[in-house]
């Protein structure tokens, strides 16, 4: 996108943020030299993240730069129906309430490092563990690819083409890999804190600038009524189905992102986890809410854009505001720096989790179980870097065919949710049924996505999830049996078991 303030100041802010990330990442490493002594130290920050850092790392993992650019463009296009993005981010926390309390406790008790560890503990099935690991790695890889492309676009806009954007992407990725390599989760979480603050400051400045120069919601309401009155209406029919789908699929899917789950394991104690999740339950108003309002306010400034033009809406508004005076000029440079920082902060956590699954669940469990933790960490890191290199090649030379293979994420990832959540509570869960359900769900979701099938207006991922659940539940009811000990417990101490546990 073309930005009025791009060029030298853009390069300076990029350098500034890049160096800041590096300093924070390296500083964190210097204070915790034993970080490579165990998987727990490296991938979970020694299970020692306190409330503030935990909150920001949840925050930065969940909100990427895409949230700002993509969601405001969508709010501009579909209007108030896109209000759903606010409750959707809160739904994620609601889904956490279903499994986080027990998952957290189990992770401490059994030294769980990755979500696959939990599945292994629960089902003791090679098939389930390997399939889940593959689905997670696949979704994480594509998620990472999306972030890399987004960094490229952000850098291209901010530097106004002064620096080839590939150079900008490499710059940030090298920094990200260095601090991730050195300090693991601790470095990632502390840089997340800086990146989260940068994004928040930038977005608020954009909101203020928009209101000052283009007018507030009443003015926008009048414009929308004139230009596209349908954008003020209540979603109905297909729109309503889409709304509900969004809350369910994305709420559950985003909650089971392995990088999000690993943050539950990293909490210092239950108190820190509870507090940071409470704060997260309110953040959507400040992030998705503000981004939504910006998209709506954009009507006043640019009332009649095509779909393609609307994709650039944040850049166009930032340019217009930056031209007004020097304070907003600086603020908009900060905004774009913050957007790039936010993308980096999402990418770093995805990469770390990717490496952890390789270290612990593939290499450490099946290839070389006798390896030292240090070696497992090294293998995870190296494979992670190779994966980034591969994804960069894809990002710069998108394959002409089968490109959809690289777009599947949530549809596939959500198929792991039944095993994770239901498996946590249902003793009767039958490993083979879980496996077949997960596999069928993933294949169905993929096929529906590739063929663009959405029967009844329901998303492909939800269809997969429905098939998955039916197989899981039916199979477990027929073949599964609750462990004898558990049955005895239930019979004897039904009253006692309720308050306990």
């Amino acid at each position: 996108m073309e930005l009025a303030f791009s060029g030298t100041s853009g390069i300076l802010i990029m350098l500034f943020y890049g160096v800041l990330m590096l300093l924070i990442g390296v500083g964190t490493y210097m204070r915790n030299k034993k970080v490579h002594s165990s998987l727990e130290e490296y991938y979970l920050g020694g299970r020692g993240l306190g409330t503030l850092v935990l909150f920001f790392t949840f925050f930065a993992t969940q909100y990427s730069g895409n949230t700002v650019i993509g969601y405001s463009a969508e709010a501009y296009r579909v209007g108030y129906a896109n209000l759903v993005t606010i409750p959707f981010f809160i739904m994620i926390i609601l889904v956490y309430l279903v499994f986080a309390p027990r998952m957290y406790r189990l992770s401490k008790k059994h030294d769980i490092v990755t979500p696959v560890d939990f599945l292994e503990l629960k089902f003791k099935s090679k098939a389930v563990s390997i399939l889940a690991a593959i689905l997670m790695l696949y979704a994480l890889g594509n998620f990472l690819l999306e972030q890399l492309i987004a960094i490229g676009q952000g850098v291209a806009g901010l530097t106004g083409g002064t620096v080839p954007y590939q150079a900008g992407v490499i710059f940030f990725i090298v920094i990200m890999i260095i601090y991730g390599w050195l300090g693991g989760m601790r470095s990632v979480a502390y840089t997340d804190t800086m990146q989260g603050v940068a994004l928040l400051v930038g977005v608020f400045m954009l909101l203020i600038g928009t209101i000052v120069y283009f007018g507030g919601l009443p003015a926008a309401g009048d414009y929308i009524r004139t230009y596209s009155p349908e954008n003020l209406g209540v979603p109905e029919g297909g729109g309503l189905v889409r709304w509900t789908n969004f809350l369910i699929l994305v709420g559950i899917g985003a909650a089971v992102y392995p990088n999000a789950i690993q943050r539950i394991f990293s909490a210092k104690n239950e108190r820190a986890l509870k507090r940071s999740l409470t704060q997260m339950a309110w953040m959507p108003f400040l992030t998705a809410g503000v981004v939504f309002v910006i998209g709506i306010l954009a009507y006043t400034a640019f009332p009649d854009l095509t779909v393609e033009e609307s994709e650039q809406i944040v850049g166009m508004m930032a340019s217009a505001i930056a031209n007004e005076n020097i304070i907003f000029y600086i603020a908009m440079v900060l905004l774009f720096g913050g957007i790039i920082a936010a993308i980096v902060s999402t990418a770093d956590s995805v990469l770390l989790t990717f490496s952890s699954i390789v270290s612990k669940d593939i290499y450490g469990r099946y290839i070389n179980p006798d390896a030292t933790d240090n070696r497992k960490i090294l293998v995870g890191k190296v494979i992670g870097v190779i994966a980034v290199g591969f994804l960069l090649v894809i990002a710069w030379n998108p394959p002409a065919t089968l490109y959809q293979v690289f777009l599947l994420k949530l549809e596939i990832l959500v198929q792991v949710a039944p095993a994770l959540i239901l498996g946590l509570y249902w003793e009767r869960s039958h490993a083979r049924s879980v496996f077949i359900g997960m596999l069928t769900g993933a294949l169905l979701a993929a096929v529906f996505t590739f063929t663009n099938l959405t029967p009844l207006g329901i998303f492909s991922g939800v269809w997969g999830l429905i098939a998955n659940l039916i197989i899981y539940v039916a199979g477990s009811l027929v073949f599964g049996k609750a462990p004898v000990r558990q049955e005895a417990d239930m019979l004897e101490g039904k009253k006692a078991t309720q308050p306990v546990r």
Partner: protein, 80 residues
């Protein structure tokens, strides 16, 4: 184990509350096809949904605060 450990999933009443909020969170109950009423430029239905969304956050805060307490060992003495 303590008698007073609490876990949200074990209390079905909590989920009844969430179900009600979730149902209200989907804007099916507004008349469709009518000229939307604007309050300070914002459609009334959107304000209602926003209100329900605030309730969702409040309810989550309440559940985390009063219905989640299951750590049965003192937390580790870790750095930071």
């Amino acid at each position: 184990m303590k008698q007073n450990t609490r876990e949200p999933i074990r209390n079905y009443k909590i989920w009844l509350g969430f179900l009600i909020i979730f149902i209200l969170l989907n804007p099916w109950y507004f008349p469709s096809g009518e000229e939307p009423v604007l309050v300070f430029g914002v459609p009334l239905w959107a304000l209602v949904i926003l209100g329900v969304t605030v309730m969702l956050s409040l309810y989550i805060t309440y559940v985390i605060r009063y219905h989640w307490d299951i750590e049965d060992e003192p937390s580790r003495e870790e750095e930071k």
